[in-house]
Amino acid sequence: MTLLAPGYLAAAAVAGGIALGLHLLVTRHGPSAVLPTARFVPAAPAAIVAVTRRPRDLVVLLIRVATLGFAGLAFARPVFTSHRHGTVRIVLADRSSDAGDIGQVRDSVRQILREGDVLVVFDSAARVVPPAGANAAADSLDRVSVRGRLSAALIVARREAARLRTAGDSIEMDLISPVTGDELDAATPAIRTLWAGRIHVVRVPAAGDSSTPPRVMMRASAGDPLLDAAPVRQRMLGAGGAGGATPGVRIVRDVPAAEDSAWARAGEGRVLVVWPGVGDPAGWLPRQPVDTVGAVVAFGPGPIAVVAAFARRWRVAASNGRVRARWIDGEPAVVEHAAGSGCIRDVAIPVPVAGDLVLRPEFEELVAALLRPCGDAWRPVLPVAQSSVAMIAGSGRLMASDSVAAASGDEPLVPWFAGAALVLLIVEAVIRRGRARLSAMPVHLAGTA
């Protein structure tokens, strides 16, 4: 058994000593004597405080000391400690949209997770996966389209640590996450300090990392001006840029077919960009007459504004999609619809054949933004400072189990000690009341009682 707050027991011992000292002090009137000139003695309380060797009222003293002892034990929160060995591991897996490749997260979890470990899957909220289902959960780990919140994950891990404190002598935390700036908030450093030990951080690529740009497949005529845009040209399948062989983005510059939609639905995170250069896609509302607008605004890593004389040919309905770019007058210019695991992005921005618009940097930024992943990942992934990652990781040893406050259910003795203190308080009150009643009785009655 150990005490979680031994200071209270020490305080109770001090209080018991004070109680003993007070019981050694007796307030008495002392020997009395007749003195006719007593009136010349300065007026003062007639009681005299003296110290005796034998404590007065031994029964009450014992009750009080015992009460203080039990109260001190209750506040000291004694817990039973089992024979603990080894390290308990808590694995935090980030499945939020900040994670660029959920497969890497999955692989890391499989590599780290052992029998008996606790898996905590988190995005904007965290969920504990019991050890029994941890491996299955790791295999079926899917990426969700919400941003991650590291604070929520740390809080859940801390709570799990309190529950697991008796399972091992130290607790290890493995964090598998890209650790982006969006995942940190103002409370994260304070919450991190609650974990009194280092954290093993396994960083996976963040969504939108330039190191793994999805490949682009474009169906267009040979002279399509969009082919000259740098983001398209560099990421085209078969180009010399890095990336996998499977395209993540398909740009359709003509009328999309059912096969295009099926492609988007079939793969996770696939983006079908419907960006018609010729013809009218089904469901699109042609604008008659063609309108002219001066600029389009979108959001990539930052605000993107392209100023040009755009001739708007369609009205894009945004009723069942998310607007990703707007014309300068507020009308949607790009709308994204979810499609299975991927999405379909309708782009109603005409690409002029003449001129150098596609070569201008702001237009290239716009194109790059239109090729970004689906959902919340459309927003930029803020980079995180290395110092913040170091703060999350920490240093030193693993967190000791004893440093974790036990959960309320792990202190079975506390209510017993508190109850004993309460009972003793009542007993003392009864004894004192009985004595007061006895002393108030007439002498002859007291003698016969």
């Binding site: 004597a33 003195l35 006719p36 009136r39 003062a44």
Partner: protein, 293 residues
Amino acid sequence: MLAAGDVLEALHGVRWPAERPVPGGSPGTHRARTRGSSAEFAEYRSYRQGEDVRRLDWKVLARTDRAYVRLAEDHALLPTTIVVDSSASMAFPSATNGKWIHAARLAAGLAAVAHATGDPVGLSITGGRMLAPRMSQRVVSAITLALAAAVPDGTAGVAASLTAAHGRVAILSDFLADADAVVALARAARTRGVVVYAVHMVDAAELDPPRGPVVVADPEAPDLQRPLTPATRPAYLANFARWRAGLADDFHRAGAHYALVVSGPDGEPAARAVRRIVAGWPESAGDRPTAVP
């Protein structure tokens, strides 16, 4: 029984003369303020119309043809009343009643001295028996018996004994009950020609109380309880001394004689105190001569 024999024996031959001429009255040993017709010639005075012609000195009238009255020194008695405080505060120390016994022996001694001077002597015990002044041969014995029978108790003060006093009054008291009233009545009595002797009875234990922590109580006011500790003792001594000095000054201002008499094992012997009182010395002094017999 009050053992006052040694005191009376020691005071044999001691007299208590009046400090100044007394009012005229029954013939006695004290010179009176009036002129009489005794054999002790004093002076001649012209005859006043209406006076008794028998008081004319016929020989002087025959020689000088002028009417003179022959005056002689007159002597009168000085009735003396001994007032003894028998309140509870006089029963101190409670084990011996030393203060009361000492006061009673003093009273017997003063009565014996006054009787020996030829004055009628009476006794007034506060809240108790009262003997009117008389010249009987047994008056001292009667006073001694009355004192022996008295028990100090209660809270009665001595002021009441002064309201109708005449002649000479000796008050033996600790003046703890009604000092202010006694001083005021002594001043009033003095204006009536009454000679007041204030004998302040103090026990040695009151001047040097116990040093240990003890709760002291006033026997005349049991609710008054004060802690007498080493810390409060100096203040007590100072307060008590200041009060005694103030009381002596008050009696002197009132025209009364004041004498402090300390009882107790190391107190002043009763006979010596009586000699000092009748001589008019306020305080005990070993080097002073005893009272003139």
